[in-house]
Amino acid sequence: MIIRSPFLRTVRLGISSLLLHKLRAFLTTLGVLFGVASVIAMLAVGEGASESAQEQIRQLGSQNVILRSVKPPEDQQSNQDVRVLAYGLTDSDRLRIEYTYPGVRSVIPVMQVPEEVRKGTRVCRPRVLCTRSDYRDATGRVIYEGRFLSELDESLEEPACVLSYEVARHLFPFSSPVGETIRIGGEYLEVVGVVLPRGPVGQVSIDSSTEVGGDIFLPLSAGRRMFGTTQVKMRSGSRDITEVELHEIIVDVRNAADVPMIADACRAMLDREHNDKDWEVIVPLELLLRAEETKRIFNIVLGSIAGISLLVGGIGIMNVMLATVTERTREIGIRRALGAKRKDIVIQFLVETTVLSGCGGVAGVALGLIIPAIVEATADMPTIVTPQAPALAFGISVGIGVIFGLYPAWRAANMDPVEALRHE
């Protein structure tokens, strides 16, 4: 079949020339194929990992500023038989923020109780968080069944609690926990609702024998009444008494733009009001920005590593094309004698390298889409293939084909026709 379009004719000729050495063309294509596939797969794994990290940060609430109590270093504690340690955030810190800073929607206190949770013979040790009803609004926890804590629970010091899904499934594997009673420490509480789980954030206490993460929420007022703010730990020959009023304060900021300002104000206030550095300020928004920057660097590093394999593929193409040019010296001479211009020869060889790298690119994209799916299924690692990744990898592969094909093509075009015709 005679093709009239010069470009299509050159493409067809390129393909038929490549088919003269099928194995060689196939092996050259493999270099590009694996390069493209590894670029896509690496970017997908990187994207998946950073997205899951960012999701965890997002779950902290990007409009929140989180203040946490931090236990001071050991050397600041007394060495007596009875060691008393009072540290961390206080109610007055919370009230100061609530009444001083404009732009704050709510300031939510959280107290953590280190108690075991039981239902019959089933035991677990999740985070027991004593807080208020607006905790759910600030953290975006979703109700699975029943309800979350209410203002009435708080004001009446109701012995009510809300379980996170993991805890609910552990304590009540076959039935709904709503309306049932569980025991926290020595106290009995009624389950009023279940919230859906979220990623592991903060310090989730997991008992080695009862490996269940998750949280239990109860009204702060009831928690304080039942468990107080003082915790006593018995050790051989000594007692550690620690008093922490609040383990966490979540500052829910109305406008995301105000988050850095509020965070700085909180830091300044805590610095002023606390003698020890027994607090830390976590700004999810800052973490998110930092995670995005890390992701960018991560992608560049992974992309560069994968790019090297593409480069190797490109060198393979160049090597093969140089050999092809030498082999086809006589053909180049014939074509030049029959009227081919230098640019015709350049285009002919560039089309061949582009066909090689293009075929490798297409196959590489296919493999590159399969690998992340396999990784996700077998290694339980999140992967995300963004639409840009295959396009980028394919574009680079074709670009590499052109770049690495230029020199062989230029060499072919600049052959002396007389010498080329003499070539055996």
Binding site: I2, R4, P6, R9, L13, S16, S17, L19, L20, R330, E331, G333, I334, R335, R336, A337, L338, G339, A340, K341, R342, K343, D344, P417, V418, L421
Partner: protein, 236 residues
């Protein structure tokens, strides 16, 4: 120099020298050749090995340039042409027939015949019909879909002749066109040249075989890169 001064000149060489550097010394493959080839003439270029036949054909075919002197095709000097213009000239006005056929193995007969057309800026509407007609004419009308490895030497040379004719060139340059063929096939090819000559084509045939050279209308004999003699072959 031409023996038929009244004939229009197809190609002209004016004091052409072609010098090669061999190590530190200069070797003149052509040493001051002045000659005219008239339109429609059939010339054989003869000489012993190293006499400069092939160098002369390369210059006549515009794939090499003279070191000194001027070469004119249809009255126009080629020294002023750049590489692209020379390529266009080769494709449009010259037809090559090589000793070893020089067909492109991955193309079939018809595509090989069309190679000089492929490098034109535009695809001429007559190209395909003409290619088929030429294939028919050289006796390969039934084998246009075959590739060179599937053809005999004589058939391949016929394809090469058809390819040389596709652009209706001013000059047909044949370099030992029958050198790789047996006597019978060589005779058939020479008959094709005779027919082309009879149709008014200008043919320059390089050969070292006297019997073949004598079939041409005229013979240009070269010795050491110089014109030894120009002979009108009365038998032709």
């Amino acid at each position: 120099m031409t023996l038929q001064a009244q004939t229009e000149v197809a190609a002209e060489l004016v004091n052409v020298r072609r010098v090669y550097q061999m190590g530190g010394t200069e070797v003149a493959a052509l040493d001051g050749i002045t000659h005219q080839f008239g339109r429609g003439e059939y010339w054989s270029i003869m000489g012993s090995s190293g006499s400069g036949k092939s160098t002369l054909l390369n210059i006549l075919g515009c794939i090499d340039r003279p070191t000194e002197g001027e070469y004119l095709v249809g009255g126009s000097p080629v020294s002023t042409l750049n590489d692209d213009q020379l390529s266009e000239l080769r494709g449009a006005r010259l037809g090559f027939v090589f000793q070893s056929y020089n067909l492109i193995p991955q193309l079939d007969v018809l595509e090989n015949i069309l190679v000089p057309v492929m490098y034109r800026d535009e695809w001429p509407p007559w190209a395909l019909d003409r290619a088929k007609e030429l294939a028919e004419r050289v006796g390969l009308g039934g084998r246009t879909g075959h590739r060179p490895p599937e053809l005999s030497g004589g058939q391949q040379q016929r394809v090469a002749i058809a390819r040389a004719l596709i652009n209706d060139p001013d000059l047909i340059l044949a370099d030992e066109a029958t050198g790789n063929l047996d006597t019978k096939t060589a005779e058939e090819i020479l008959e094709v040249f005779d027919e082309l000559h009879a149709e008014g084509k200008t043919i320059l045939l390089v050969t070292h075989e006297r019997s073949i050279g004598l079939r041409a209308e005229f013979t240009l004999k070269l010795v050491d890169g110089r014109t030894e003699e120009v002979v009108e072959n009365r038998s032709s």
